[in-house]
């Protein structure tokens, strides 16, 4: 083959194309032809897509090994499909763009165009994300065959899932901030549709709307950030582009700019850009203070919760921040904010999760908490932290999907009941679910050799290292990262506690089920994905940790290559961190066992004793209430007042003006009194006035 990248390019287009094709086929044929076989196109499409993604991963891996450092800064391959817009000469060349262009031996033109190409690109980061997304969604699709069986909108579910996977893969593939935003919102739309899948449930419809709106608030910041990027750097493309006038326009994350960190604008502007991007990431990844939509999103079908609201979509924020690492690198302050948000979210969500009684909501809060961990890792700004964050993203995708699917299995068995107070001791009735769930719990809690342990441990290590490192250009009198380290440790304890609380409540203890339910083990289509995911949850951490393949592979990503080059040597040993976290986790599990295995009388006493804390946790720290009180309520009231203003004041004014002629007419009407002489007099006076003005003035 003449072009070594041709393979990659083909695969690159296939990954999103297959799910889209599957979605279209399902949507067209689903309602009439396929009916209960509507899953076939999607399962097939996602399966193929997963295979293609893995091939792509291998191909990228093979390719990136053979590259020189400089060319590592470019994406491994990209394909331009068509031009979205190309508006010439719209922006006076900003200094940052001019500087970079001079670096590229191009004379900066006076005006820059606004070119947005639909370009797909792949690099190790993307390839990893693609593999994870397609693989998990393939498993979830298989699971959904069993779970959604018999639903009246069976085909619609699979069409949405196909559409979602298309959008998600595109999100990680595109090479442009605008298109990133496009698919950022597109996955949000799929999430909206899937949360509201059972639209007849008012809660589901409301939750869908809430998710969309909170995401919109995040997107609001994201859009502002994109505008700022455009104005600062003169382009929205990641890659370097050729101008029609000749010369190279360096992309925001292109080879030229990555090669020289000084080409990134530092200072307040960088911080503003990063914080705005962070707002977007917070919205999508459900970070404090925009996390409120995720627990409500559990109204959607459980496979959706597993796929979108645990494994894939919510990690888009993490992906975006990793992708924009060079931008964040220019602003240590912003990185610190990322870390703080992450740490805070991790802790708060864990606190809330401790007292929830809805199994899916516990998992939702744990998702938020784990995403907080990832943000914490990214917030360290070191290669160690970022790769730890991505690592956690991968492991989390598997074990959280596993947990959700397990919860779905329970729901399936109990006829939709998910409230932990209504059942217990399902261990015997549902052995497969129970054991896979346990593996998931161990992974989530971070017990030694399961996946969560390795990734979480690395995040803790990265934070610990950052707390004791000297970073150029960053001075803080307050030991932020030290604190965050202890927050993370505390969160690890809480995680272990609430995870096993849920497990013990659901699967241990006396067997108790709701009256109407006939618990049974789920069908094979559901247990098979559980088993596969459990295998991954158990093994993937150790597998990836064993070699340093993951780190080095990830470091080949253009966005990270520069950073990786700066970090000298491999990370040191962090045995004490690992020991500490393991101890903490074991204490957590032990406490959970103490309180929830057996009689469960102690826990009520504890709850009474810690009444305020318990209430705060149970009421989810009153986030929804506060938002209602501070934002939604006032806006609603304002809207109502304005509608009154509109109806009475503005329209009243208009009507007043409209009435003026009528009133004037009423005033003048008596002059039409039918008296001949009054007319004559009026006529005479009129003539006089005319004559008078003519004569006297």
């Amino acid at each position: 083959m003449s072009d070594p990248l041709a393979n990659i390019r083909t695969l690159l287009v296939l990954v999103p194309a297959l799910p889209l094709l599957a979605a279209v086929v399902t949507a067209v044929l689903g309602p009439r032809v396929l009916k209960s076989r509507a899953h076939w196109p999607v399962v097939l499409g996602l399966g193929l897509s997963a295979i293609v993604a893995l091939m792509l991963l291998a191909e990228v891996n093979r390719h990136s090994r053979n590259m020189a450092h400089d060319s590592k800064l470019a994406a491994t391959g990209h394909v331009t499909l068509w031009r979205w817009t190309g508006i010439p000469d719209v922006l006076a060349t900003p200094p940052a763009a001019a500087a970079a262009m001079e670096k590229a031996h191009t004379t900066p033109p006076r005006m820059l165009p606004f070119d947005v190409d639909v370009t797909l690109r792949v690099d190790p980061l993307t390839a990893l994300m693609l593999s994870m997304v397609t693989f998990v969604s393939f498993l979830v699709a298989i699971y959904a065959v069993g779970y959604m069986h018999g639903d009246r909108s069976y085909w619609r579910f699979f069409a949405y899932v196909g559409l979602f996977v298309f959008s998600m893969t595109m999100l990680v593939l595109v090479s442009n901030f605008l298109l990133l935003y496009v698919f950022w919102e597109a996955v949000g739309m799929c999430s909206y549709l899937l949360i509201g899948f059972w639209y007849q449930k008012p809660e589901a419809a409301a939750a869908g709307k809430k998710a969309f709106l909170v995401n919109r608030v995040g997107d609001f910041g994201f859009a502002l950030g994109i505008f700022l990027i455009w104005i600062t750097y003169g382009t929205l493309n990641f890659h370097d582009t050729t101008l029609s006038s000749g010369g190279v326009l360096p992309g925001v994350l292109g080879q030229i700019r990555l090669g020289d960190a000084s080409l990134y604008v530092p200072g307040g502007l960088a911080t503003a850009i990063c914080l705005l991007l962070l707002v977007g990431a917070c919205g999508k990844s459900a970070q404090f203070p925009l996390h409120v939509w995720l627990p409500d999103a559990m109204e959607g079908p459980t496979p959706v919760s597993a796929l979108i609201h645990a494994a894939t979509m919510v990690t888009a924020g993490v992906y975006m921040i990793v992708r924009c690492t060079p931008l964040f690198g220019a602003s240590p302050q912003a990185q610190q904010v990322v870390a703080i948000i992450g740490g805070l979210t991790a802790l708060l969500a864990a606190i809330i999760a401790v007292t929830q009684t809805d199994l899916k909501r516990i998992l939702a809060y744990s998702t938020i908490s784990q995403l907080g961990y990832m943000f914490l890792g990214l917030g360290t700004g070191s290669m160690l932290g970022i790769s730890a964050g991505m690592f956690h993203l991968l492991t989390h995708a598997f074990f959280k999907a596993l947990l959700f699917l397990g919860a779905g299995s329970v729901m399936h068995a109990l006829g939709g009941v998910i409230d932990l107070r209504q059942f217990s001791g399902l261990r015997r009735k549902m052995p497969v679910t129970c054991w896979t769930f346990l593996i998931g719990c161990l992974a989530l809690a971070g017990v030694l050799p399961f996946a969560g342990f390795w990734s979480k441990d690395r995040i803790l290590a990265a934070v610990h290292e950052r707390a004791h490192a000297v970073v150029a250009g960053y001075h803080s009198s307050f030991p932020v990262y030290e604190w965050l380290y202890w927050v993370a440790i505390g969160t690890a304890f809480l995680t272990a506690f609430y995870t096993f609380r849920a497990f013990f409540l659901a699967f241990c203890g006396p067997e108790r089920v709701p009256a109407a339910a006939h618990p049974h083990e789920s069908p094979n289509t559901m247990t098979l994905p559980l088993a596969i995911l459990a295998a991954f949850a158990a093994g993937i951490g150790l597998t990836l940790e064993a070699g340093s393949w993951f780190d080095s592979f990830l470091a080949e990503s253009p966005s990270l290559a520069a950073l990786a080059a700066h970090e000298t040597g491999p990370a040191g040993s962090h045995l004490h961190v690992a020991v500490l976290s393991t101890v903490v986790v074991l204490i957590g599990i032990g406490l959970a066992a103490f309180f929830y295995l057996g009689e469960r009388t102690q826990i009520d006493r504890l709850a009474m004793w810690l009444r305020p804390v318990y209430e705060a946790s149970h009421r989810k720290l009153w986030f929804d209430e506060v938002y209602d009180l501070l934002i939604v309520g006032p806006l609603r009231i304002l809207a109502y007042l304005l509608s009154l203003v509109d109806r009475f004041l503005i329209d009243g004014l208009v009507n007043l003006i409209g009435r003026l002629p009528v009133w004037l007419g009423a005033v003048l009407r008596p002059t039409q009194n039918g008296l001949l002489q009054s007319y004559a007099l009026a006529m005479a006076i009129g003539v006089l006035v005319l004559l008078g003005t003519l004569v006297l003035f």
């Binding site: 002489q677 006089l688 004569v695």
Partner: protein, 275 residues
């Protein structure tokens, strides 16, 4: 006596000086025409029948004074005989006009009106339009006014109807009439007295007049003009007269027929007019 006169003169001079000082910002007040118009308005207001008998004499006096003011503005006609005759005729005309509008009895109005017509006729004669003067007197005073009197006798069995004793908006009417006169006089004064006026140059010379409108064979020339240059107009007017004749007859003839219907309809329609 001289002392008295001197005193009066002095006082007058003082007051006029003061007056000029006061009114310098309102030049209009310094014009005789303004005062003439004001006097005329007041006078006509008082003259118009307004129910009571108050002040009609004063009104008449004011009106005459106003006329005097207006007359005092007028230019001299060249010699006193002409001027005297003109003033006499003009005075009769205008005073008769005032009488026309101020008498309570319509019959008196008509009589005053015919006097005004006589005056007008005299003015026509004075200006050399002898045919018109005669025609006015004959046609108007002789025919039209007499017809009016007939109608009055038909329609006005009683002398003083209440509506003859009141006027409609006397003040406004009198004021607007006076203002009209004032404005017209101002225009005239401006036109005739302005240094830029070219009218003086257009004034006809006596010989030209003698060959023109003052030609000795006045009526013949007029007739010749009437039936040559203005023939079409004459025909039109003739038709108009015929139409009027037919129309008047038709109105009277239809009256009887519509009467009954009209009364019936009126009973329903007219809700609350006086009487």
């Amino acid at each position: 006596m001289n002392l008295l006169l001197a005193t009066i003169q002095e006082t007058w001079a003082t007051w006029t000086t003061h007056w000029h000082v006061w009114t310098q910002h309102v030049p209009m007040l310094q014009s005789r025409l303004t005062w003439g118009a004001i006097l005329l308005a007041l006078g006509m207001w008082l003259l118009l029948p307004r129910g009571g008998r108050r002040g009609r004499a004063a009104g008449a006096l004011l009106c005459v004074a106003a006329l005097g003011v207006f007359a005092s503005r007028l230019p001299f006609l060249g010699d006193w005989s002409h001027q005297g005759v003109f003033w006499l005729l003009a005075g009769v005309t205008v005073v008769a006009g005032l009488g026309t509008i101020s008498m309570r009895s319509p019959v008196y109005c008509a009589l005053w009106f015919s006097l005004a017509l006589l005056g007008t006729g005299g003015l026509f004669l004075f200006s050399g339009a002898s045919f018109l003067g005669i025609a006015t007197v004959i046609v108007y005073a002789g025919a039209i006014v007499v017809t009016f009197l007939f109608v009055l006798m038909l329609a006005q069995p009683e002398g003083n109807a209440y509506y003859d004793r009141i006027s409609w908006e006397a003040m406004a009417s009198a004021l607007s009439g006076a203002v009209l006169v004032f404005l017209l006089s101002v225009v005239l004064a401006d036109t005739f007295n302005s240094p830029r006026s070219t009218l003086a140059a257009q004034a006809p010379a006596a010989p030209a007049l003698a060959k023109g409108v003052l030609a000795p064979e006045h009526v013949a020339t007029l007739g010749g003009q009437l039936f040559s240059r203005y023939l079409v107009s004459v025909e039109v007017i003739g038709v108009l007269l015929l139409v009027a004749l037919v129309g008047a007859s038709a109105i009277i003839m239809l009256q009887g027929r519509t009467d009954a219907r009209g009364r019936a309809a009126r009973g329903a329609a007219e809700e609350g007019s006086p009487q």
